[in-house]
């Protein structure tokens, strides 16, 4: 009837009662990495604006971006960017109707973790 259980039903995504699993955790991590990249992105924008402004401004911005804190943010952001990129690849695969079985999706999640770490190590070594 019209007057039962109005508006106080449990709403998804049920995060507080959900058992952690590869599919949900890897998806949440795609969201976290994507949005966290704003920190490094704004630092890079500052770096470019400073470089366009002159040597004094560049020294300040470059000093911050290449400090131990800047290096930490940039290295974690490279890891986040590789992971998010692989997550996007999985989304494109899903959109084409592939990897939709649970076991394949979980395997893709494990591949995302492994490959993002390997790509980050590769990036740090090369650069």
């Amino acid at each position: 009837m019209a007057d039962v259980n109005r508006g106080n039903r449990p709403l998804s995504p049920h995060l507080t009662i959900y058992r952690p699993q590869w599919t949900s955790m890897s998806s949440i991590l795609v969201r976290i990495t994507g949005n966290a990249l704003i920190v490094a992105a704004l630092m890079i924008v500052w770096w470019f604006v400073a470089a366009a402004s002159g040597p004094a401004a560049f020294a300040t911005a470059n000093g911050f971006v290449t400090s131990w804190f800047g290096d930490l943010v940039m290295t974690l952001s490279v890891l986040g960017l590789w992971y998010h990129l692989l997550g996007g690849l999985r989304h494109l695969a899903w959109d084409s109707g592939r990897l939709l079985d649970v076991d394949k999706s979980e395997m893709a999640a494990q591949m995302m973790v492994v490959l993002s770490v390997l790509l980050t190590v590769f990036t740090v070594i090369v650069l």
Binding site: A41, V45, F48, A51, N62, L85, L92
Partner: protein, 123 residues
């Protein structure tokens, strides 16, 4: 007690009917970023830490400059769409609207500053 039927309560509460466009733009930008992100990581990463003069000379070359412009332009547009979904999921009421507007403005402003700066260095 309200005398609304379930049907009446549900009417007008459905989808915003614009999700397809959002999803398609996410797909297009993510495919572009699949190429642009690695190019940016390795071009920007190879010059980060160099001196002011070296940075200016490097970004006067067309390839690194265009890669940086495209990556930050498409990247911030992709971010603007993604952060809107994030806000829509967790923030409600007036704060939602304010946060979405604020983050969209921030995204476009950051992209504009970056592109202006890179063009200024390059020219």
């Amino acid at each position: 007690m309200a005398f609304l039927t379930d049907r009446k309560r549900a009417t007008g509460m459905g989808s915003a009917k614009t999700g397809t466009g959002h999803h398609w733009q996410m797909m297009v930008t993510s495919v572009a970023l699949l190429i642009l992100a690695p190019l940016f990581i390795f071009t920007f990463g190879s010059i980060l830490g160099a001196s002011y003069q070296e940075v200016i000379v490097y970004y006067q070359r067309p390839f690194p400059a265009v890669v940086a412009i495209l990556f930050l332009l498409v990247g911030f547009f992709h971010y603007r769409l993604g952060v809107q979904t994030l806000i829509e999921d967790y923030v409600h009421g007036f704060a939602r609207k304010a946060a979405i507007i604020g983050m969209i403005c921030l995204s476009y402003a950051a992209a504009a500053f970056a592109i202006f700066a890179i063009i200024r260095i390059a020219l």
